[in-house]
Structure formats: structure tokens, C-alpha cells
């Protein structure tokens, strides 16, 4: 069975030079992968490349063995979801933000379920009253949790997580980890790639460890 995501010979340029080049990576069904590396090594750019958010300077991506056409990006991103390190919420309430993805053509066959949204927020340590809160009244950590809940309710196949707990207090971070673990365990094929600087955290959330440094992407021992 082909991997969920297969990146072949990826290359990304930055500031006139190659940040990384000729790097390949697979995300297989059920895999829990961590990605570490020094600041500025290109972890975020690698994640953005895997989410197809930036044009690839070199290389190609396959989804379950299938080559992607330019028009496939929205459908691809509905399954391979990227969580930004500092996600942006739109003007309006938390509920407006959780409803937002269902107004997009790619998710239109699905319906927003308020009860499910409230359930996800509860798993993240917030009660349903948060749904009515305006975006402007949220702290950075709360915005991060809402963005995570917004992704989890869409039940993607792969999560590309860019330091999802970096802005959270220890208790909220633990709840976020559990929610992600719950999402992962709910279906056998689900996988994630989790960027973190914290070796302890990487050991707890991943079975496979990658390190990006000096343009090299290498497997690390557990």
C-alpha cells in the first residue's frame, strides 16, 4: 500500500540559496512522526511545502501514490491539514470560526455540528460558553486551541502540526496532546508530523523522529 503522503526530492529556496534540496519524506498510514531542528533550518517551510501552501522550487508530492494536479490542492488540504504556529482566526465569534470551513466548497457536503464542536472544546479544557466568545477576547493560547478544534472537527487524514503546544500552558498543552492522540487513535490510518524543539515531547508523541539541519533531513534513533 502506498504511503499517505510521499514527498520526492523536495527543494526550497530562501534568501537566494537552497534551504534544503533533494530531500524525500514519506508519511505512512498510522505514523506518528516528530520533526526537530534548529531555528531557521526550514521546518516550517518543509511543512508548508507538504501542505502545498507554497510552490515547490523542486520535487513533487503524491497522495496515496497518486500524482497531484494543480487543481487538487483544496481537496488535498482537506485531508492533509496544516496547523500554523500562530493560526489566524477570522473576525467573529469562536462558533463563527468553527463554522467557517463548512462554508468552503471542499467541505460543503458536510455539516457543522455544534455539539461536536462543544465536545472538542471540552476535551481541550474549555466549556461550550467559549463558542459565543468573540475572537478579539481570546488569548493567544485560546486561539491556538480553537484553531486545533477547527481542524480536528474536519477529521483530516494527516495533521501537519507546527509547534501546536508552544503557546499553551502545561495543562492546556497536555489536553491538546490528548486530543490529538484521540483523533489519531479514532481511525487506524491517521498520521501526523509534529514539529517541536522539545526532545521530551517528541519522545512522547512520536514513534519516528526526523531532524532537519543544515539542509539535511535525517531519521533519528528513538
Amino acid at each position: 500500500m502506498p504511503p499517505l503522503v510521499e514527498a520526492r526530492r523536495l527543494g526550497r529556496r530562501a534568501n537566494g540559496g537552497w534551504l534544503f534540496r533533494d530531500r524525500s519524506l514519506t508519511i505512512g498510514a498510522g505514523e506518528r512522526i516528530s520533526l526537530s531542528g534548529p531555528s531557521g533550518s526550514g521546518k516550517t517551510l518543509l511543512l508548508r511545502a507538504l501542505a502545498l501552501l507554497d510552490p515547490l522550487a523542486e520535487g513533487s508530492l503524491r497522495l496515496e501514490g497518486r500524482e497531484l494536479a494543480p487543481g487538487d490542492s483544496p481537496a488535498y488540504r482537506s485531508r492533509i491539514a496544516y496547523l500554523h504556529q500562530q493560526p489566524a482566526l477570522l473576525d467573529g465569534s469562536v462558533e463563527d470560526n468553527l463554522r467557517l470551513p463548512f462554508s468552503l466548497a471542499v467541505h460543503r457536503q458536510r455539516r457543522f455540528e455544534r455539539r461536536r464542536a462543544a465536545e472538542l472544546l471540552e476535551q481541550l479544557g474549555r466549556d461550550a460558553s467559549l463558542l459565543a466568545r468573540d475572537r478579539s477576547q481570546l488569548s493567544g493560547g485560546e486561539a491556538q486551541l480553537v484553531a486545533l478544534a477547527r481542524l480536528l472537527q474536519l477529521e483530516p487524514t494527516v495533521l501537519l502540526l507546527d509547534e501546536p503546544t508552544a503557546a499553551l500552558d502545561p495543562a492546556s498543552a497536555e489536553l491538546a496532546r490528548r486530543s490529538i492522540a484521540g483523533w489519531h487513535a479514532a481511525a487506524g490510518r491517521r498520521a501526523y508530523l509534529w514539529v517541536t524543539h522539545d526532545a521530551g515531547l517528541a519522545g512522547g508523541v512520536a514513534d519516528r523522529h526526523l531532524r532537519l539541519s543544515g539542509g539535511r533531513l535525517e531519521e533519528e534513533p528513538a
Partner: protein, 268 residues
């Protein structure tokens, strides 16, 4: 004095110029640092209008279309360039987008005006073609410039939001719709405002000119209504056109936002 209007002498022009000099003196006294720009603008306008007066006298005297079309093309190119020069955030291809938009919108509307509305015969009669196109260009230029300005500002200020939408599976249009809508609306604000207040707060320029030239008020009003509709249509078409062209340059067919293409060049 002629039958229709009062002729102006250079002395009378001088009295008007004196008012500008008084304003410059006030700026100098209060150290507002406006006097140089004010005088430069006044001199520039006078020279430009005197030159265009000479050119128009020459063009009005000939009865062939090529010189008229040449002049119209020059005016259009100047407007396309001026629209971008006022825009502080630019992307590769913005000059072409501005030129294409202003050219298509203003020439299409001017053609409709000359051929179908006013029914000028022959169609290139410079007394009609040049002022009509000039008025259309002046306003379309404003719309295009404001639209481009707002598109750049919105996409820069709301980059995280746009990319967040793309990451959720939005198409490029779904992600850019808010900034695009805002840019088109902004471009339309001046002409919509002008139409709202026309006749109440101000008498528009063309109508004023015709009244001063002795045209009957009802005829002057009809011309003004026609020109307002033409200007609004051209501004809407030009603004929408340039914003959509910009959108296509800043978003790839693979639904990616090329934010790095937007570069700040400083406001002029």
C-alpha cells in the same frame, strides 16, 4: 465677448494665480512646508494645460482619425502609468495589468458613448472623443489606483487569514474573495460619492463648463448624467479588471498565495 461666454484675459488668469501665491505665502509663514508642492503643482498644471490647449487646437483643426487615436493612446498610457505610480505595494506585472485594465475599460465605454449614446459623426470628432475619454480616464485612473492600493494592503495585512483559509481547503477565490471585494468597493467609493452629491453639494465639472459656455441647463444636465454613467461604468470595469488581474498574478492555479511578490516601494 462672444455670444455664449465671457472670454478670459491673461490678466484675469493672473488674479486667480495670485490666490495660489497667497496660499503659498500662508504656508511659508506657518512653516507648513506645502508651498513648494503647491507652486510646483500650479505651474505644472498650467504648463500641461497650455500644452494640451495647443495640441487640441491642432487636433481639432484636422479631420483624420490617426492623430486623434494617437493622442487618445498617449492619454491612456499616461493614465495607466499614473495609476501604478500612486500605489505603494507592487507586484511583477502590475504596470501591464494597469494599462490593460484602463485601456479596455475606458476605450470600450468611450466607444459606446461616441457611437451609441451621443452618436457623434464621424466617430472620432476630437471635440467629443478627446474630452469624453479624458473624463473617463481621469476617474478610471482613480478607481484603479485605489483598488490596487487596497488589494495590496488587504493581502499584506490579512496574509495569515488568507493562508489559514487555504490551509483549511479554500480555493484561491474563496481565500481572496474578502480582499478582492474590499479592493473593488474602495475603487468605486469616489465615483459613487460623486453621484450621490451631484447637484446637491457640487455642480460637476462638465456641466459647469457647459453652463459657462452658454449651453441650456437642461442640455448641460443631460450631458452630465450621460458622462457620470460612462465614468461610473468605466471605473467599475477598470477597477474590477485590475483587481482580478492582480488576484491572478498573486494566486497560483494550485491555490497558493504568492505573498513574496508584493513589494513595498514607498508612497509617492
Amino acid at each position: 465677448m462672444t455670444a455664449g461666454y465671457l472670454e478670459l484675459s491673461y490678466g484675469q488668469l493672473g488674479i486667480a494665480a495670485l490666490l495660489i501665491l497667497i496660499n503659498a505665502a500662508i504656508s511659508l509663514t506657518l512653516r507648513l512646508e506645502l508651498h513648494r508642492r503647491l507652486l510646483l503643482a500650479a505651474v505644472r498644471m498650467t504648463v500641461q494645460l497650455l500644452l494640451v490647449g495647443l495640441v487640441l487646437e491642432w487636433v481639432f483643426a484636422i479631420s483624420r482619425w490617426p492623430p486623434v487615436v494617437d493622442l487618445m493612446a498617449l492619454m491612456t498610457i499616461a493614465a495607466g502609468i499614473a495609476a501604478v505610480r500612486r500605489t505603494p505595494r507592487r507586484y511583477p506585472g502590475i504596470w501591464l495589468d494597469s494599462l490593460v485594465s484602463i485601456w479596455a475599460a475606458s476605450w470600450l465605454i468611450a466607444a459606446v458613448a461616441l457611437a451609441a449614446v451621443v452618436e457623434v459623426r464621424p466617430w472620432f470628432r476630437p471635440q467629443y472623443a478627446i474630452p469624453f475619454l479624458g473624463m473617463i480616464l481621469g476617474n478610471a485612473l482613480n478607481g484603479i489606483s485605489l483598488g490596487l492600493d487596497r488589494l495590496g494592503e488587504e493581502l499584506t495585512g490579512r496574509r495569515a487569514e488568507v493562508e489559514g483559509l487555504l490551509a483549511l481547503g479554500a480555493t484561491r477565490w474563496e481565500a481572496a474573495r474578502g480582499p478582492v471585494r474590499s479592493a473593488v468597493r474602495t475603487g468605486m467609493i469616489p465615483i459613487v460619492n460623486s453621484m450621490m452629491i451631484a447637484g446637491i453639494v457640487s455642480l460637476p465639472g462638465m456641466m459647469t463648463g457647459q453652463l459657462l459656455a452658454g449651453v441650456e441647463p437642461v442640455q448641460a444636465v443631460r450631458y452630465q448624467v450621460v458622462i457620470m454613467f460612462l465614468i461610473a461604468s468605466a471605473t467599475a470595469l477598470g477597477t474590477l479588471g485590475v483587481v482580478l488581474l492582480g488576484y491572478r498574478r498573486l494566486f497560483t492555479p494550485a491555490h497558493q498565495f504568492l505573498h513574496a511578490r508584493l513589494r513595498s516601494v514607498g508612497r509617492r
